[in-house]
Symmetry: C2
Subunit: 451 residues, 2 copies
């Protein structure tokens, strides 16, 4: 039986299994969901055993567990380490989901659920592709290892420690990761660059209690005034970050790179219209693809303080908060950037207000040379299944662990994405296009067989 | 029996009754509490009947009802209209209350509950004082009318219409209101000026969905960036409002007024320390008393957008919101101020963002001449009970209806406050000092008998 028939015959079973996994609300950022994250880890371990993996373990960490397994019966052949994650993003605002985030639902050939594309659905493809190969082939074409973590959405704080400790156990010739996207339907891509990341929480505190704006209004510091002034000071009116030294370490863009990026042929007006925007917006002098692919950025992800209910409340809030993330490129050092933002803010605090900055995630940008054979073979595998060779692209997102995996294990990282850019990852109505579910399985099989 | 003994003997009964009223969560701003607001209105009607009022009615309006009642059996004597409100502010953040806001609790001689001082507790004093007079006196010293509304905390949208329609029914020689404060314990005050008020909600909308900050960060408008830039543009770094024309209509401050205000002897350092602040803050060139008493102000009462949960979420929010109120003085016109803020914001919207401004409450500032005999007699009544004559002050708060009541009924408004400035009105742990509960009853009796 060829693989196409095999996957066709087992399609409903595979979808049912993935649905089981998607039902587990394994939100790593929320401590209330710790039990669910553990449950998802156990589920992955079961699926790896079912696929034929040996020495499957749910490895405890200081945070959420890391699931590992291996099948090492192809002596003399390359060893592939599959990395993925079983944790998911929070789901709010819940009211914007058309169907509940943890009740998977298929509509128009798309599977809707939190984690459908990021990354449960994509990671699951590897488990099922390997299971298929072990069932179909007399001789396994490669040695296989899995390393599936539960803290990717909170910056993988424990995986680097685990990697360092288990360098031999996890040693591989190539690390394969499916946590990125095609360029658009039918246009596969292999990501050869990821932005780095750093994040921080900023809080402003004023009086020891909320105050009445009639009695005190105009006479005391207002935590919200102090906060919005700080936040507004981070960018100029041309979309540039004005924190001193922020752009240090960002690469000069050679003309050929800018040209290659523009060759992707993204229609900015079409993109704006599809997002309901009158116009895109960002750092002056760069295209959308450049701004999101190879330029750093600083984004407010959340701001809150004072009264949020219906109607009005004449209160002067005693505290206000903001959550900020930066995407980094080139040699920007996440710790250095955090320190610079911290210093920028501390210098600008309004009299009477106190600033508390909590530094959080830190990850360097990642880049790999597309000429490496392990990447070229992946592009070939896409061509066989999609009829189009994968392009090598730079992605604006961050998978902090990719740089670490590649560095610690001294192996190239091949990012074979099967998502689509509009699949609402990290947003309401996240989904996974099942066309890429089907083609993804075949592409992974082709790739592993080609090594 | 003298009044002191009367109130002492009935103290527990009165406190039990007030507790009943305070248990009703009559939050006028929240539509979920509509039933509770109605319940509080019925409770007031019952209390007025019990006090001896006739023609007691719960008058429906387009919003919450207005309770009226009268006792007109003192021919040839003045008619006093008591105004108050039975609605309360929202209670969030709930976790900062030491005891639940709608489970009244007495600690250290203070009655804790939402509405304890603003305004259920203060308004209740008038009902009980009138009840006492009707029980104790052979001849009533005045004619009495009550007009108690349930929309003060949302800007009294329906009372002006009701007043216009019922001018004859509510006609009076003086309007008495207890919804303000003493200067400090033992130092009574009669408020002869209130700031006006206008409020608005500002929303910024960008894309039609929340977006992932990796894929889109730096390349699309971020509703939070657009909002904080707008909000930060409203003040300069000297605490002045920079909306063009904002200060038009504010009075020049004569030297004697500034001197009178400074005579109040407020220690700014002491105040800052008591609020846990390193320093007070506000419009440069003015003292705290001036900033809060006779200068206008623009305050952010709430700002929110994006992720507010634990940890981080790499989202670019599609919308962000702010709630703003201004306190107005002199001849500032609330509609004009709202229009100016609206125009200021519209001119500064970041490309790709859409601004929606919702204008809400509007009220003119109010001022009255302290030489009017009805005010002088009130100051005398305080002197009899407190041993200190009440000072005539300007208050930074707004009771939008005071100006309307005085204008429509063509009667002076006498604001006899029995609260204290630190009683946390509009904030967690609102309370009412029972010393002023006791003295308030006696002061009102003295006042009514003196007219």
């Amino acid at each position: 039986m060829d693989y196409q028939n095999y996957f066709q015959n087992n399609r409903q079973t595979h979808l049912d299994e993935l649905t089981e996994l998607l039902k587990i609300p394994s939100i790593s950022a929320l401590s209330d969901h710790k039990g669910d994250v553990q449950k998802a880890a156990e589920w992955i371990a079961g699926a790896l055993r079912q696929a034929g993996m040996e020495n499957v373990e749910v490895n405890p960490t200081a945070g959420h567990p890391i699931v590992t397994g291996e099948y090492l019966h192809a002596p003399g052949k390359p060893t592939v380490l599959v990395y993925g994650h079983y944790d998911v993003q929070p789901v709010d605002p819940l009211n914007l989901w058309d169907t509940p985030p943890f009740e998977p639902s298929i509509r128009d050939g798309k599977l809707y659920a939190r984690g459908a594309t990021d990354d449960k659905g994509q990671m699951f493809l590897h488990i099922k592709a390997v299971e298929a190969i072990l069932k179909q082939e007399k001789e396994p074409p490669v040695n296989i290892k899995f390393c599936i973590e539960g803290e990717e959405e909170v910056g993988s704080p424990n995986l680097p420690i685990f990697l360092e400790k288990n360098q031999d156990k996890l040693a591989a010739d190539v690390v394969v990761i499916s946590d990125t996207s095609l360029l658009e339907p039918g246009k596969p891509a292999i990501c050869t660059g990821l932005r780095g990341l750093c994040s921080l929480e900023v809080s402003v505190h004023t009086a020891n209690t909320d105050l009445h704006s009639g009695t005190f209004g105009g006479g005391v510091p207002n935590a919200l005034h102090a906060l919005v002034a700080l936040l507004a000071s981070l960018h100029d009116d041309k979309g540039r970050v004005v924190v001193e030294g922020f752009y240090k370490g960002t690469p000069e863009l050679p003309a050929e790179l800018r040209e290659e990026i523009s060759k992707r042929g993204l229609d900015e007006n079409k993109l704006a219209a599809s997002l309901g925007l009158e116009t895109l917006y960002g750092e002056e002098g760069y295209s959308f693809a450049e701004r999101t692919g190879i330029r750093p950025t600083l984004e407010l992800n959340g701001v809150y303080g004072g009264f949020q209910g219906e109607g009005s409340k004449t209160v002067i809030p005693k505290e206000a908060h903001a959550k900020i993330t930066c995407r980094l490129v080139g040699d920007q050092d996440p710790q250095d950037i955090l320190d610079k933002i911290d210093a920028h803010l501390q210098q600008r605090v309004q009299p009477g207000a106190k600033l508390v900055v909590k530094q959080m995630e830190k990850a360097h940008a990642f880049n790999i040379d597309p000429e490496i054979p392990m990447l070229q073979k992946a592009a070939d595998a896409y061509e066989k299944v999609y009829g189009t060779r994968a392009l090598f692209t730079k992605d604006g997102g961050s998978i902090p662990i990719v740089e670490t995996l590649s560095r610690v294990l001294e192996a190239p990282a091949v990012m074979m994405g099967f998502g689509l850019p509009d699949e609402n990852l990290h947003a309401p109505n996240e989904h996974f296009n099942l066309e890429n579910f089907d083609k993804g399985l075949l592409t992974i099989v082709e790739y592993l067989k080609s090594l």
